[in-house]
C-alpha cells in the first residue's frame, strides 16, 4: 500500500450536547509516524475510536488502509492494531494465552501464530514471562504486552492511544524505544495520541487537536519554527499581581501549578519584560521554543492546564 494510510474529511461527532469532534480533516501518509497532540478531552480518543470503527462518526468520511470505516469496518479491523488508553489485556490469562487469543481472533494459522508470538515477545522483551499470568506483571510490562499484541497480526497501521499514560519515566522511555525500533523494521504506519509534548519530537508529523478541531498539521520542526515562542514562566507574588499581568499580556495563561506562562513575542524584548514583571513574579524560568510553547500559542492554553484525569469514572483495578 502506498499513498495515504488514513484519510479523514470533515468528521464530526457529538455526545449529547458535547461536541467531541468538530469537522476534523487530516491525512496520514503510509509508513509515517504520526502524532495527535492535545489535552485531555480534546477529542483524540474519539477520533481514534472512529478510525478503529468502534464509534461511528455523525458526519464526514474516514478511510483507513484504503477502506471506508463505515462501509467495510471488518476490512479496516483486520489491518489495524490498537493499543487502547486503558489496559485491555486479560489479567487472568498468561502472557502467551493473551497473544494466542488475539492470534486466533485475527484468524492466524497455528504455526505462523506461534512463530509471531515468539517474535513479538522478543521484540518487547517479555519472552521469559510468556507463561506468567498477566496480573503479576507491572503496568509497564502490561503495556508492552499490549503493543506486542497489537502488532501480532501484522497490521498496516498501529494505533497507540496514550501509550505511556500512568507509566513511570523509565517504562515510558522503553515504550518509545520499541516504537522507534518499529520504524526501522517495517512499513508500519504508527499513529500515537499523547499529551506528553516531549514524546512527539521524533514523529514525522504532528497534528494538534483542541476542542475537537485541528489547530496545526506539520512536522515537529516546522511547527516549532512557525509557532514556537519563548515562554516566560513565573509564580505571581500575589493574586492581584496575577490579574495585572494577565491583563497586561493578552497571550498569558495560568498553569495548574499556579504559575503564569507568558509568551514572549519578540526575544529581543525579553529583557524589558523581565524588568516589567520582575517585581511581581518569582521562580522565573524561560522556556525555549518547544512543542509545548507551540501548543500554547496555538490554543491559548497551557497543555498542563488540566490534570490528567481517568476517563469515564472507572474504578480502581482489581484482580
Amino acid at each position: 500500500m502506498t499513498g495515504k494510510a488514513i484519510r479523514v474529511e470533515g468528521v464530526r461527532k457529538e455526545f449529547g450536547r458535547v461536541t467531541a469532534l468538530d469537522g476534523v480533516s487530516l491525512e496520514v501518509p503510509a509508513g509515517s509516524h504520526f502524532a495527535i497532540l492535545g489535552p485531555n478531552g480534546a477529542g483524540k480518543s474519539t477520533l481514534i475510536d472512529i478510525l478503529c470503527t468502534i464509534t461511528q462518526a455523525d458526519a464526514g468520511q474516514a478511510e483507513v488502509a484504503g477502506f471506508d470505516v463505515r462501509k467495510s469496518p471488518r476490512d479496516v479491523r483486520q489491518r489495524i492494531g490498537v493499543v487502547f488508553q486503558d489496559p485491555t489485556v486479560d489479567t487472568r490469562l498468561t502472557v502467551r494465552e493473551n497473544l494466542d487469543f488475539h492470534g486466533l481472533v485475527y484468524r492466524m494459522k497455528g504455526a505462523h501464530r506461534r512463530r509471531r508470538i515468539t517474535e513479538m515477545l522478543e521484540l518487547v522483551e517479555l519472552a521469559d514471562r510468556a507463561e506468567t499470568p498477566v496480573r503479576t506483571l507491572s503496568s509497564g510490562m502490561k503495556r508492552r504486552l499490549e503493543i506486542a499484541r497489537g502488532l501480532l497480526h501484522e497490521p498496516q497501521l498501529l494505533f497507540l492511544d496514550e501509550p505511556t499514560v500512568g507509566l513511570d519515566a523509565q517504562s515510558r522511555a522503553r515504550i518509545w524505544e520499541y516504537i522507534a525500533e518499529l520504524r526501522t523494521r517495517s512499513e508500519l504506519t504508527v499513529v500515537v495520541t499523547t499529551h506528553y509534548i516531549d514524546e512527539v519530537d521524533n514523529c514525522d508529523r504532528v497534528v494538534v487537536i483542541d476542542k475537537g478541531q485541528v489547530r496545526a498539521d506539520a512536522t515537529p520542526s516546522a511547527l516549532k519554527a512557525e509557532h514556537g515562542r519563548t515562554v516566560l514562566r513565573g509564580r505571581p507574588l500575589s493574586p492581584a499581581a496575577a490579574e495585572r499581568l494577565l491583563a497586561q499580556f493578552p497571550g498569558a495563561a495560568r498553569a495548574t501549578d499556579g504559575r503564569l506562562a507568558i509568551p514572549v513575542d519578540d526575544p529581543v524584548a525579553l529583557g524589558r519584560m523581565l524588568q516589567e514583571t520582575g517585581g511581581e513574579l518569582d521562580q522565573i524560568e524561560i522556556d525555549q521554543p518547544s512543542l509545548e510553547s507551540v501548543f500554547l500559542s496555538l490554543t491559548g492554553r497551557d497543555l498542563r492546564e488540566e490534570p490528567a484525569s481517568p476517563r469515564g469514572g472507572r474504578k480502581g483495578r482489581r484482580g
Partner: protein, 283 residues
C-alpha cells in the same frame, strides 16, 4: 511499579514450537481436583442403618409366609429368596431373623403389610418394584423379573379367542386389573383356581386350554411338566422387576446389600440357587 532490569534478549531464531502438553493442559488441574474431592466425599456413610445392624450382628427381614418358589415354608427347601437372603447375611457376618408376614401375600400395597422399622430392616420375598412400592419404601436394584406367564400344551403366542384360562394369582404386586382387561380383549374366559397344582389339573382335565399365572410359579411348574410350553404375556404384563425393599434413607444398608448381591451374582452362587428352584432368568 518500575520495571526490573530488562531481560537479556534471547538468542537464536524464534521457533514455532508448541509448549509441552502438560503445560497447555495445566489449567485443568483445579477442576480435576474438585471432581476427585467430590467423588471421594460421596463415599461418606450417609446414615447409621448399616452400623446398627453391624453392631447387633442381626438383620430382620420381612417375608411373606408362603410364596413359592421364593418362599415355601419347607425347612429343607425354604425358598429362593430365603436362601438368597441367608447367603447375604452369611457373607456380611449377620445372623438372620425372618419375620413371616401374613399380609404380604394378600395385598400388593406395602402400606397394608403392617410392617414398620422395628419389625424388620429389609423386606424380601418378591417385592415388586412398582410405583406403589416405591412411594412407600426404597428399593434396591431388581434381581429377578416376573410378570404374567402362560402355560399351554403346544406353542402359542397369546391367549386365543374362545379359550378358557385357568388362573392362579400367586403373588401380590402384579397388575390383575390389567391382566383382566387384556384377557377380555383377547376373548379368553378366566377360571380362578386356588393353587399351582390346580392349574396343572385344570389343563389335564381339559377344563382349561391354557393356564395363566405369575411367571416364577409357571417356571417351577414347567420344571415338573417339560411337555408344556411357557410363554410370557406381552408388554407391561410380562415385565415386573422384583427386588428387596428398604426403609427410606437407609442408604448404607441398601448399598451394602446391593454390593453383596452383586458379589453373589458374579461368583455364580446366584445362578446355582436359581437353577435349584428352576427359575429361568435368561430372558
Amino acid at each position: 511499579m518500575s520495571d526490573a532490569a530488562p531481560p537479556a534478549r534471547q538468542a537464536g531464531r524464534p521457533s514455532a514450537a508448541r509448549p509441552p502438553l502438560w503445560r497447555r493442559l495445566g489449567w485443568l488441574l483445579p477442576v480435576v481436583i474438585c471432581f476427585a474431592l467430590l467423588f471421594a466425599l460421596s463415599f461418606l456413610p450417609a446414615d447409621r442403618s448399616l452400623r446398627q445392624i453391624d453392631e447387633q450382628g442381626l438383620i430382620s427381614v420381612c417375608m411373606p409366609e408362603s410364596y413359592p418358589p421364593l418362599v415355601t415354608g419347607e425347612p429343607e427347601r425354604p425358598g429362593f429368596e430365603v436362601e438368597l437372603v441367608r447367603e447375604i447375611a452369611e457373607r456380611a457376618g449377620w445372623r438372620l431373623r425372618v419375620s413371616s408376614n401374613p399380609y404380604m401375600g394378600r395385598d400388593f400395597n406395602p402400606r397394608a403389610w403392617h410392617i414398620n422399622r422395628s419389625i424388620c430392616q429389609m423386606v424380601a420375598g418378591g417385592v415388586a418394584l412398582s410405583d406403589t412400592t416405591q412411594a412407600f419404601m426404597d428399593t434396591g436394584a431388581p434381581h429377578l423379573e416376573t410378570g404374567w406367564a402362560m402355560l399351554s400344551a403346544g406353542p402359542q403366542e397369546a391367549p386365543e379367542e374362545g379359550q378358557t384360562a385357568a388362573f392362579y394369582a400367586g403373588l401380590a404386586g402384579l397388575d390383575r386389573i390389567g391382566l383382566g382387561q387384556y384377557l377380555r380383549g383377547q376373548g379368553t374366559t378366566a377360571r380362578i383356581v386356588q393353587s399351582p397344582a390346580a392349574l396343572l389339573e385344570a389343563l389335564e382335565t381339559g377344563e382349561a386350554e391354557i393356564a395363566i399365572t405369575e411367571a416364577l410359579i409357571a417356571q417351577t411348574l414347567i420344571a415338573e411338566r417339560p411337555d408344556l410350553t411357557l410363554t410370557w404375556l406381552p408388554g407391561e404384563l410380562g415385565r415386573i422387576p422384583l427386588g428387596f425393599g428398604f426403609w427410606r434413607g437407609d442408604l448404607t444398608l441398601r448399598r451394602e446389600v446391593t454390593r453383596l448381591l452383586e458379589e453373589i451374582e458374579s461368583d455364580g452362587t446366584f445362578a446355582e440357587l436359581a437353577s435349584r428352584y428352576s427359575l429361568d432368568q435368561s430372558r
